[in-house]
Assembly symmetry: C2
Homo-oligomer: 380 residues x 2
Amino acid sequence: MIYFDNGATTFPKPDIVYDAVMKAMKEYGANPGRSGHKLAIRMGREIYETRELLAKLFNIDNPMNIIFTYNCTESLNLAIKGILSKGDHVITSSMEHNSVLRPLFSLEKEGVELTIVNANPEGKIRVEDIVINIKDNTKLIVITHVSNLTGTIMPIEEIGKIAREKGIYFLVDAAQSAGVYDIDVKRMNIDMLAFPGHKGLLGPQGTGGLYIREGLLLKEIKQGGTGSFSHVLDQPDIFPDRYESGTLNGPGIIGLGAGVKYIFNRGIENIRKHEEELTKHFLEGLSKIDKVKIYGPLNEKEQGAVVSINIGNEDSSDISFILDEKYDIQVRPGLHCAPLAHKTIGTFEQGVVRFSFGPFNTHDELDYALKAIREIAKEV
Amino acid sequence: MIYFDNGATTFPKPDIVYDAVMKAMKEYGANPGRSGHKLAIRMGREIYETRELLAKLFNIDNPMNIIFTYNCTESLNLAIKGILSKGDHVITSSMEHNSVLRPLFSLEKEGVELTIVNANPEGKIRVEDIVINIKDNTKLIVITHVSNLTGTIMPIEEIGKIAREKGIYFLVDAAQSAGVYDIDVKRMNIDMLAFPGHKGLLGPQGTGGLYIREGLLLKEIKQGGTGSFSHVLDQPDIFPDRYESGTLNGPGIIGLGAGVKYIFNRGIENIRKHEEELTKHFLEGLSKIDKVKIYGPLNEKEQGAVVSINIGNEDSSDISFILDEKYDIQVRPGLHCAPLAHKTIGTFEQGVVRFSFGPFNTHDELDYALKAIREIAKEV
């Protein structure tokens, strides 16, 4: 089995992640709370440790400004709906995932003004195209850090600088970058950072997070028990309780902490270098195969470890099915929940076959996949 | 260690739950999707099996009418906000958790009309009190099945009958009952059933669900990628995709399925009987100890396995601290995120010491706790 669907969720996870989840479930699987017993306090402390690890990774001063969510989609919904109201203007790009686009389209129906900046066919957006679309009522810019379709790395540091200068909030969707690419919320002027726990951060599914800059108060999308201010019927204002109603995914969050520890131990720059080498090797191999069309920047320094291709005019699902059935290679075909991105690169009808690599993939696996693609390309 | 905080989260879980979570993470920890590879398909199939098990447990015809959420709080938010709009009237009780009350208070500020029916000091509500509060614009009745403070079992079948007759939607909060008490959504005329995965259903944290009756379309609270209709920018209408945006907690849901299997194997009536016996034994023991005040119906047939007490006028947190430190008994003091329920039974200032039992607690553990309470009561 060769797993190249790390853009959907990383698999496998480091062993310390499995161990941390099991230990949390078996040894102290309680519900944290303000005035809890030993087990509850231990669970609360370990959850806090994950906040600290993430804060260190993203250069966040106060770990309490990190909100734990179900997944990156929830983080993006909270950020987008928490800040935008009728009459506000928001700028995003055509490379966004439906987790950004669908909340924005939903808000557009309620009177939020939406501008979608088009990328070029390599998935690149120009900072100038954002600048010329800024208006007096522009309240938010939302940009993905790395495209889930082409892997294109977006100029978030430049965009962040402009957003800060203009007094516009800046939300980054780090679904494909967190855990692999450097993210510094201070240097990059990021006001809100949405990230999944189960992709590059190597944690379990059922985890995600949102960093919210100190002093920024969002409308919450859920209210409920927070273990704090239980006597008050209004949702409390304090971080992170305001946004974390109900029981957290304790063991999942602790597994996420173990994933981040793995990243620190191996070194985020080593993981990135490994993935860049894989991408480079794969792109080079693909370029020598007839009938293969490759999308994106075609340069491992300008894209994440995501390589999308098609073979001739074959349907992407058919190719993926052959890869899975005949070669036991797992990839993801179709539209990848990013319809406008597919329109941008011209693959809305055909879809693409997406290969996405993780820290445990090897060159040998790539060579085997290249051989498989060569064989398929000959036959179609 | 004696864990009596099962009302917050059950601990430990059955071994098959740990095993199912680990197997899902290690062997097929992929992201399900419509046109996926072998691992993704397997994950999707196993998640579906959990839907089937829950459907069987609650007598739900179509497993696709079960939505997976992060926790019961999210389920309640989705149900309440999905159905109520400005001008609608909603009836609830004073025994509700903040996961019901806070969303309702939030909606009240937006023009939803709210009636809170008061329970008596045992936590019992009278069906007549609900009936007399029904108005022309009453759209929803929300009632907890079992109080998390007094354990009081609410007359949900009678309320459901009235709601159906009057054409009012009926939402049941099964946070403290699912997995222990019989819930039949058809016989009980339940339109929406919110439940946690990690309490009586014995699944991992980070899981919860909402059953939505066929034909009932809610406003969703989150939009995003659903793996379906990816070409469309509006959130799709189909179940369960409409309400399940982003990556699900796959291993958690599969662990939840294992929890439900455990319940079927042991027999829900056997679990309930076991918990009733524990409650009866504990209530009898407590009644013989001076200075102990017990709240709720004081009858194991009228209450879930939740027993709340105080010792004299001692602060509930102090007593819980002694139980934890000196006796290694884990209970939960304070307000339990249910401020109006505490006002109802007169413990808003003192809080209570809550003992909540699970399927793995024993009579020996209860006897040890009774001995501890006797000793503490002598000393204060």
